[in-house]
């Protein structure tokens, strides 16, 4: 909670450096020259194979934690190095690393071979990552159970107000999945791009952004590399780009990072350029052609 009344902020100058207008939010301003330095990314998934050569040592294996179900049905945290149960966490970490090579990645393992109580482990992992204050939290998973909706909502709001950007995988078709439905997260589905930096804004929420997720080459368990398709690979693309933005502009709040993502999305930028061209044309037409002898 804030320790001073909100109105006392009104006299402060809180402009974002280098941004006088929305059109100043360009890719160059947003992430030009950034490599993810100083940014911590949590990958909440099936674990990460920290020794995979494609990850080039970007994973803080000792800082990781696995959440498993104890014998009495309680969630138990097991700190330290762990293996990837399926390969998916390694894949997501690999995508983030490709885009933001200097970002440090921590694995929060919540998916395993045992099926019981996975939503509880998932929530415990998210709460842990929020408490740790990661800059970006990648969640390429979700739950459809309504009875978990409120606890996930609370955790995501806490992340949002605490400064952690939670990036979740959504469905291309509307399907209930928590926490991807919440405004406090950045929800991502696939586009058809092959360029990892080519992402789009979706004006039809709750899915807000579209990023690469089709036929993506990703690291996998056993030191291998596979090609895979799914929205769960689109989310780490936005996580990686967000890591670049937060690396260059660490003071930005989650809603500002979302705004930068919106302004730099391909379809918003291209539309803006068209509007700009149209505006210039209309101004030129309004002024009329030069007329000899005119006033």
């Amino acid at each position: 909670m804030a320790d001073r009344p909100a109105w006392t902020r009104e006299g402060e100058a809180l402009a974002v450096a280098g941004v006088d207008r929305i059109s100043d939010l360009t890719p160059e301003w947003a992430w030009g020259g950034a490599d993810g330095s100083g940014v911590r990314v949590a990958v909440i998934d099936s674990g990460v194979d920290a020794d995979h050569p494609a990850l080039e040592g970007c994973v803080d294996a000792a800082a990781g934690v696995a959440f498993v179900m104890g014998g009495d049905g309680e969630v138990v945290a097991e700190p330290g190095r762990h293996r990837d149960a399926f390969g998916h966490g390694t894949a997501c970490a690999g995508i983030v690393h490709t885009l933001a090579p200097a970002a440090r990645i921590t694995s929060v393992k919540v998916l395993g071979e045992r099926l019981q109580g996975k939503a509880a482990a998932f929530l415990a992992g998210l709460r842990w990552a929020v408490n740790e204050g990661f800059d970006v939290i990648n969640l390429s998973l979700g739950t459809r159970r309504r009875d978990w909706a409120l606890p996930f909502h609370e955790a995501c709001d806490r992340a949002y107000f605490g400064g952690s950007l939670v990036v979740t995988a959504a469905n291309n078709v509307q399907r209930r999945s928590y926490p991807s439905l919440y405004a406090s997260v950045t929800s991502v589905a696939c586009n058809t791009a092959t360029d990892p930096m080519r992402f789009h804004w979706n004006p039809d929420p709750p899915t807000e952004f579209l990023a690469r997720g089709i036929d993506v080459e990703v690291p996998w368990v056993g030191g291998q590399t596979i090609r895979s398709t799914g929205n769960s690979y689109a989310a780490p693309h936005i996580s990686g780009i967000a890591a670049l933005i937060r690396s260059k502009h660490p003071a930005l709040r989650p809603f500002q990072v979302k705004t930068v993502l919106w302004a730099t999305a391909v379809n918003v930028r291209e539309a803006g350029e068209e509007v700009d061209i149209a505006g210039k044309l209309s101004r030129r037409m309004a002024s009329g052609p030069p007329v000899a002898g005119g006033r």
Partner: protein
């Protein structure tokens, strides 16, 4: 119900141009093949239990559909769906409304085209239908048959005739008419 499930799997195989497909139901900490299509004698795979691993394992625990193209050395999908070999590519989607109760999965052989995002969405839609069928089957399994219900009521009536006499008379009338 098994005919419905078989048709759903067959539709998933046809729409994705896959070679084989199967429907897995969550059974404790394992997955059981409850329907299969394509390949040699798909019915023989029904009833097999497989561990929560590979693409199906990820899908059932994450709730996210996925298509995975495996290189030759990747053994994470060996034995998927009760198959003996290692498919070149698999596509899996979760079944179920609130809980993931199963996984609809198709596989393609080496040399065929990789699965597309359209394939994922079509299989995901069929998985929703399969999930509804699995949940309906579970609900039906929990309802006793009329004969079983009749036996239980007769036993109650025999044990406490004063309390269940009226029910026993109604039951006699119904069964007598039947």
């Amino acid at each position: 119900m098994s005919a419905v499930l078989d048709e759903i799997v067959t539709a998933a195989v046809d729409v994705t141009a896959a070679s084989v497909g199967w429907l897995l139901r969550v059974e404790g900490d394992e997955l059981e093949v409850v329907a299969a299509a394509g390949g040699d004698n798909p019915g023989a795979r029904v009833g097999r239990r497989v561990p929560v691993s590979g693409a199906a394992g990820f899908v059932v625990t994450s709730g996210q559909p996925a298509a995975i193209e495996s290189p030759p050395g990747d053994e994470s999908n060996v034995g998927a769906g009760g198959l003996d070999g290692n498919p070149a590519g698999v596509l899996a989607a979760p079944c179920g409304d609130e809980d993931v109760v199963g996984v609809l999965e198709v596989a393609r052989p080496a040399g065929s085209s990789p699965f597309t995002i359209d394939d994922i969405e079509e299989v995901a839609l069929l998985a929703r239908v399969a999930g509804a069928a699995l949940e309906a089957a579970d609900a039906m399994a929990a309802v006793p048959s009329p004969a079983q219900l009749g036996r239980e009521l007769e036993e109650l009536a025999a044990a406490r005739p004063a309390r269940y006499a009226a029910i026993a008379r109604m039951l006699d009338a119904v069964l007598g008419q039947g």
